[in-house]
């Protein structure tokens, strides 16, 4: 299952960091962050609960880039 979220982030490098942090989150199969379109495309693992996974993703992203925001 794939879903797209709007994000807010200031720099391209921070977007890369968010991508990596999201990829490492449990329940996330794959993730791409598109800095230019300000979008995060998350592919969830089968049976994962999107809402709780995305909460964890946001938490992990905040760790690497304090200024980011994900519209869940």
């Amino acid at each position: 299952m794939k879903k797209t979220y709007k994000i807010e982030v200031d720099c391209a490098n921070c977007a890369n960091k968010m991508e990596e942090a999201a990829k490492k989150t449990e329940g996330v199969k794959d993730c791409t962050v598109n800095f230019m379109a300000l979008k995060m495309i998350v592919e969830f693992e089968d049976g994962a609960d999107e809402k709780s996974v995305m909460k964890a993703v946001l938490k992990n992203c905040k760790k690497v880039e304090d200024d980011c925001e994900i519209e869940i």
Binding site: C11, A12, T32, A37, K39, I41, V64
Partner: protein, 635 residues
Amino acid sequence: MSKKQKKMLLKIIIALVLTAIIRVMLIFVPMEYSFMLGKLEIKWLQLILFLIPYIVVGSDIVKKAFKGIKNRQVCDENFLMAVATIGAFALGEFFEGVAVILFYQIGELFQSYAVGKSRRNISELMDIRPDYAMIERDGELVSVDPDEVEIGSIIVIRPGDKIPLDGIIEEGRTTINTCAITGESVPRTVDVGDEVISGCVNLSGAIKVRTTTNFGESTAAKILDLVENASSRKSKSENFISRFAKIYTPAVCIGALLLAVLPPLFMLIIGNDPQWFEWVYRGLTFLVISCPCALVISIPLTFFAGIGGAGKAGVLIKGSNYLELLSKTKYILFDKTGTVTQGVFEVAGLHHNEMENDKLLEIAAKVEANSNHPIAKSIVAAYGKKVDFSDVSDYEETFGYGITAKVGEDFVAIGNHRLMEKYNVDYVDCHSVGTVVHVAINDKYAGHILISDIVKPNSKLAIERLKKLGMKKLTMLTGDKEAVAKDVCDKLAIEDYHSSLLPEDKVTWVEKTIEEKNEKDIVAFVGDGINDAPVLSRADIGIAMGGLGADAAIEAADVVLMDDDPLKISKAIGISQKCMRIVYENIGVSLGIKAICLILGAFGIANMWMAIFADVGVMVIAVLNAIRALKVSNI
């Protein structure tokens, strides 16, 4: 400007004014005399004064740097800047410390402004999302969300409105501007029965349209989706840069540390003056110079701008990776029909038939009426009357052969010589150049229809331009006969062709070309998307032409040309080459300047001001250069 940017701008202005005042004051007011202070006190006073603008403009950087350390994300730009400026303060170089953080913030602001601006530019370019659809309800026009309109509804499109959904005109005639979709600026005239495409603008008259798609499946929605997701597929260069930044930043941190510590220690050991101040200053300069922002921002920005600019010109590129591949294309294989020729066929004559021309054409039209193939359409068009195919049954179409069907009691086979051979029909070949469609009725030869195709007006120019762009070999692949293929290739100056191919043979030729080329060169296939989806996906780069309507082609292709003008092929490659040139320029210039400044810095020739230029200045240059990729009108 966003709220965040405005706030930053205000902070920068305040800090700039404060710094200037303090600096001027320090020059014109000789403190020793006016305040009767000692040297140490003056230093402290300066520190306090300069700390004010520093805190105004740089506090969030220091904060971010600390948070980074806490979250074990050391060695990002914030960390570099915080260490460099705090270091400068510790050395007593207050003015320079403030200047570094000030210019860094100015650069950041400029960058985020430029990114925001090109983001908006591109979304304006792709402004094809319809806001509403008008439908008639109880004799009154009501505007509804395009999402709510069901397939088969009648919508009313007034002059000046954006066409919200794909459909067929039921009533009225008008001209439409397809520029947003195809890049073509000449308006198109459409009449009852013609298809209109969402995202175009209705210019002159009101029309009623029966929709053929819902919003999610409409051309406009698909294109928007494509463009918005295009930069998610990252190119090799982008991946290189993000990997590079990961190693680079820690490496320069360590380098700067070593530069600040090792030489003085060495001096101490051999008994000389260690000159701590000098070496720490050099280490800090080194840090400021090495900030990688120019690279990490300008490369994705260039790709984004390039894809956006191409979209404006009617060339949809599905990802940064394809843009990169496209720029390396050296071999192009073309499909003939619909790509270099118009695919609008005309019946040039009927030969060797025993029955009357009209009768033969009628039978042919009956059988061909169900096919989408351009040749079939031309036969139906030549027949000219409404086709009554109620007595047609057992219809079967075989790609590369033709069509068989029963008309009444008669078994009719219409197709090329292969089809005739399959049914053991004695056929007569034609001497004129063109596509020959043989007709057999009950396995007996009934004559053939000669159809000629017209070369597109821009094909020749497109081939010329492609050669100028450095293509090594252009090849035309066609299912047509040798004579037709040769005729077209001679007209267009294409040196190589392969004729009489079945769709699967085209795949074989593409594979063969891929095997034979150098590893670095890329093989592209250009087709009109009708039954060549396998070839499109097999080539390194599949380019589909006239993408409007052919869904399979949009799926299979990596690059979609929105109309069928062959000049778009050279345009697409030209855009990609320009874009990659900018990428390499940016990598080269920023790394080059940084390398020179780093060396100068290590030897103590470059001071903090030069470091600021190497950081902020280079970034501004790189961003401005990246934005050039948006402009594609002169390619």
